[in-house]
């Protein structure tokens, strides 16, 4: 009887701690990058942000925008991360901002935010927590973004 009770107790404890370990989560992590990274692609389209430790290829993004990934046509890639950890990526000539979620060895599209039909001339990101501000410094257009799309202050209020 005692042995059976002990076995049951051990089983419950193992189950409890095992479950607890699997669901160990730290909340309120701030992933925000205070200043955007401006990255220059190499001949293969690879961009590397040494300060924040992220590297990827821009050609898939270029293909999304221009349907062409035969050669690198992007001069500078703009990259910023919001507090939730989503990457906001765009470049000169892109008409959209790509919100990417980090996954195991990859970036997964969370949202493609279309901001300009003609394409951005000189885009730049600013962190305005909890939002990301997109500025086209040539046209002085400003967009407030989050991972879901363009944030409309009028609608919000």
């Amino acid at each position: 009887m005692t042995a059976a009770r002990l076995s049951l107790l051990s089983f419950v404890l193992v189950l409890f701690f095992g479950t607890a370990c699997k669901t160990f989560v730290v909340k309120n992590v701030n992933y925000a990058q205070q200043v955007e990274s401006v990255l220059t692609p190499d001949e293969q389209g690879e961009v590397k942000d040494t300060r924040y430790g992220v590297a990827f290829n821009i050609l898939p993004f270029q293909f999304q925008e221009l349907n062409d990934s035969s050669s690198v046509m992007v001069d500078k890639v703009r990259l910023i991360r919001n507090s939730k950890g989503f990457y906001f990526i765009t470049a000169d000539g892109f008409s959209s901002v790509y919100v990417m979620e980090p996954i195991k060895s990859g970036l997964k599209l969370k949202e493609k935010i279309e901001v300009s039909e003609e394409g951005l001339i000189s885009p730049a990101f600013n962190l305005r927590t909890p939002y990301i501000e997109l500025v086209d410094t040539e046209t002085s257009q400003v967009f407030t973004l989050n991972e879901k799309g363009i944030y409309n202050q009028e609608n919000a209020s």
Binding site: Q34, V35, E36, V38, R51, A124, F125, N126, L127, V135, D136, T137, S140, V142
Partner: protein, 408 residues
């Protein structure tokens, strides 16, 4: 005008960056901050005056005011540096440059006074050289009586002596002034002079070169009008100039050599060597002739060490030879001849130049002097009175002994 244009350029550069971004991103603010920091930093490095640095310190204040509101973002963006550290870096650079420029302005003032002095020296030296040259030419062309010729030679020797003394003083003045220059300012002064701010003719290297050339020429043109003392003085003068050149020559070349540093160095070194060879040859030859005329045979010598060895050996031998010669007068006569040369020339007329040129050191002179005194003691014959008195005393003793024998 140059100061104004530098300051204006800095302000224009800062203003142009400021107005070019109507709608800025944080990244652009960071880039603009770094560009302005770089512009100010370069302006500080290029600053040529304390006034410019003062203007730049004001520009740094404005720069700080302009970016204060972005401090937090900049601290993050500039990591591992920070907004404060970048501003502090500019201020520190400006203060260092200001200190350096203050030293240089002070040194430049000193140099300019020295250059004026040097120009005065140069005119004076030219007059003295001209006078000596005229006298030398007058002597060589002279058909005048012996009395007049002797007067001309005397005047010429005095003129050369005056000129040499003048160079001694001038070299001293050069040495003292340049030794007061702060070592860290030499590079800066050199840079200033490389930019061509030094007027032609103000270069002390030219004056030194002139002195060397004229001295070499004087010795070449000289035709037995100078005496041993004159040659010793010229030899001592060379020694002095060489000593000063070894001490400050590198600095003078660094400051005034411009783009021809190696050329100046080689030219002056060569002239110094030529002057030394010629001064040394003339001096040893003249000294040898003088001793020969005085019947003092020291043997061969042609350097400071061989001259001392000859003197030492001559006096030692003479002293040893005199030992035991109580009644002989010959060695004492030799002693007297040498003593006259030693006392009047070595210890008196030539002493200053012999010591200055290190022909003989004070210790060497003292060593020989002791031996000469010893030589006197050993060579001095007994006086006649002493011999007579001694003879009388001997006779008296003999007489006394004879008397005692007879009484017994």
């Amino acid at each position: 005008m140059k100061k104004l244009s530098t300051t204006l350029a800095v302000f224009l550069a800062l203003f142009s960056i400021q107005v070019s971004f109507a709608q800025q991103s944080d990244f652009q603010i960071k880039e603009a901050f770094e560009a302005k920091h770089e512009t100010l930093s370069l302006a500080i490095e290029d600053a040529q005056s304390v006034d410019t640095i003062d203007s730049l310190l004001l520009a740094i204040d404005n720069f700080q005011d302009e970016y204060n509101e972005h401090q937090e973002m900049l601290d993050y963006a500039l990591y591992p540096e920070s907004y404060e550290s970048k501003i502090a870096d500019l201020r520190s650079k400006a203060r260092t440059a200001e200190h350096k420029l203050l030293v240089i302005e002070n040194q430049s003032e000193k140099l300019s006074i020295l250059t004026d002095e040097l120009n005065q020296y140069k005119s004076e030296l030219a007059l003295l050289t001209q006078r000596s040259d005229s006298l030398r030419i007058a002597i060589s062309n002279s058909q005048e009586s012996e009395e007049n010729l002797s007067r001309l030679v005397r005047n010429y020797r005095q003129s050369v002596e005056q000129r040499d003394q003048f160079i001694f003083d001038m070299v001293d003045s050069l040495f003292i002034t340049y030794k007061q220059l702060a070592p860290e300012s030499i590079d800066e002064l050199s840079k200033q002079n490389e930019t061509g701010t030094l007027a032609s003719g103000d270069n002390p290297l030219e004056t030194i070169e002139l002195i060397l050339e004229e001295n070499v020429e004087t010795l070449k043109a000289e035709a037995n009008t100078l005496n041993t003392e004159d040659y010793l003085r010229i030899y001592a003068l060379h020694h002095k100039v060489e000593e000063v050149w070894n001490s400050i020559g590198d600095d003078l070349i660094a400051i005034y050599g411009g783009k021809n540093k190696n050329k100046w160095n080689a030219q002056i070194e060569n002239n110094l060597k030529e002057w030394k060879a010629s001064a040394s040859l003339s001096m040893w030859k003249s000294l040898d002739n003088y001793l020969e005329n005085k019947d003092v045979d020291l043997g061969a010598f042609d350097s400071n060490s061989s001259f001392f060895k000859s003197l030492d050996s001559f006096v030692s031998k003479a002293r040893d030879q005199s030992e035991g010669e109580i009644l002989n007068n010959t060695t004492y006569e030799d002693y007297k001849t040498f003593r006259e040369f030693w006392s009047t020339k070595v210890l008196n007329d030539w002493n200053q130049y012999l010591v200055e040129a290190e022909v003989l050191t004070t210790n060497q002179i003292a060593t020989i002097d002791n031996k000469v005194d010893d030589w006197e003691d050993k060579s001095k014959p007994l006086s006649t009175t002493f011999i007579i008195l001694f003879g009388i005393a001997v006779l008296a003793v003999i007489g006394f002994i004879v008397l005692l024998v007879k009484q017994n």
